[in-house]
């Protein structure tokens, strides 16, 4: 039973507005029913609730998106080293199966809660509302959400996060922003990751960065390597500023 979000059930609620009217013509038995709701609205409402809760509890929530293997967990692991002495940090990881990422991050001695999505390709606001039951929200400054590795689906689901961050590793190619614009169009920051690979790739930074700016003018662009630590400081400074 779902109490935290008031939806009353495990699936999305059913409060759509419906009204009907008779068709005046053709066939007596034909009836038209107006629906008038957005299928993504239910998620947006729950996301708004989460967002309000984060605001009240003064928690900066960062939704991290990117392809499988883009370097999300490695980045988080580095970030924890940098921030965990000064901030109380929680992590939600979304994975299809397995608990690899959770174990990697739990070694850093922060509260990590894993959501196993089974065959579902994204996290949604409802899953997050329930995951929050596992945290003491009064004792958190920053909550990271590592979304399911996927450059497409998570874009459609607002979780109520304070900021949305896309991690794109330079091994994936500079054409990815223009091929997958949806995920970038909602991003507050984009991190080009694994820049230590630069000498071994033909990654065109200016093309990628220009395209990202075209999709999202106000985006914060950063270059990082979790291997060498390059750029991690500016990324963490950016995060720290959000908590002010």
């Amino acid at each position: 039973m779902c109490e935290s979000c008031g939806c009353g059930q495990p699936e999305a609620g059913k409060n759509m507005s419906v009204h009907e009217h008779e068709h005046e013509h053709i066939h007596n038995h034909d009836k038209k029913v107006d629906l008038g709701f957005d299928l993504l609205e239910e998620n947006r409402k729950l996301a708004a609730k989460n967002r309000e809760l984060f605001r009240k509890k003064k928690i900066v929530t960062v939704n991290i998106l990117g392809s499988p293997g883009a370097g999300k967990t490695s980045l988080l692991s580095k970030t924890l080293d940098e921030l965990k002495d000064n901030f109380r940090i929680g992590i939600i990881t979304g994975d299809l199966t397995g608990d690899e990422d959770m174990k990697r991050l739990a070694r850093k001695k922060v509260v990590v809660h894993q959501i196993q999505t089974g065959r579902v390709c994204h996290l949604d606001a409802h899953m997050i509302a329930h995951a929050l039951e596992h945290f003491s929200l009064d004792e958190l400054d920053i909550l990271f959400i590592e979304n399911v590795g996927n450059l497409v689906c998570p874009a459609a689901f607002d979780l109520g996060e304070t900021k949305r961050v896309v991690v794109l590793s330079i091994a994936e190619g500079a054409d990815k922003p223009s091929k997958y614009p949806e995920i970038f169009s909602g991003a507050d920051a984009v991190l080009l990751s694994k820049i230590d690979f630069a000498p071994y790739t033909d990654f065109d930074f200016s093309r990628a960065e220009t395209d990202i700016h075209r999709i999202r003018f106000t985006v914060e662009l950063m270059r990082v390597s979790s291997r060498t630590g390059d750029g991690i400081k500016s990324w963490c400074d950016w995060l720290a500023r959000l908590t002010k």
């Binding site: 759509m16 068709h23 066939h27 009836k31 029913v33 629906l35 957005d38 299928l39 390709c121 003018f217």
Partner: protein
Amino acid sequence: MEEKLEMHEWSLASDFIARIEEEAKQRGASKITNIKMKIGSLSGVSVEAFKFAFSVGIKESIISEDALKIEEISAVSKCSDCDKEFSDTMGLDACPYCGSYSKKLVSGNEMFAVSFEMEEKDV
């Protein structure tokens, strides 16, 4: 993407089918036809994937095979510099009036259920 992975279009389709069926059955429907939807080009929903998921989901339902009618809506952005609106299908375009990339999405992220038609059971 692995093939066995369930795309979000599957859960959207099965929720939607359940909602329509419930509405229709409450009204004594024997058959559902002409389901109208509008899907925006930046909704994050693939129309093809949704259609496919829908066609699988309605097997053994009272929804007729060719019921789903989707109108695809091209995204519209509004320029933050000159205030004009323009078509911005993939969210990649500059303002055609002044060249600015500073813009806000006005529409195109919707997945809107408009209406359906039903035939009533003969009484």
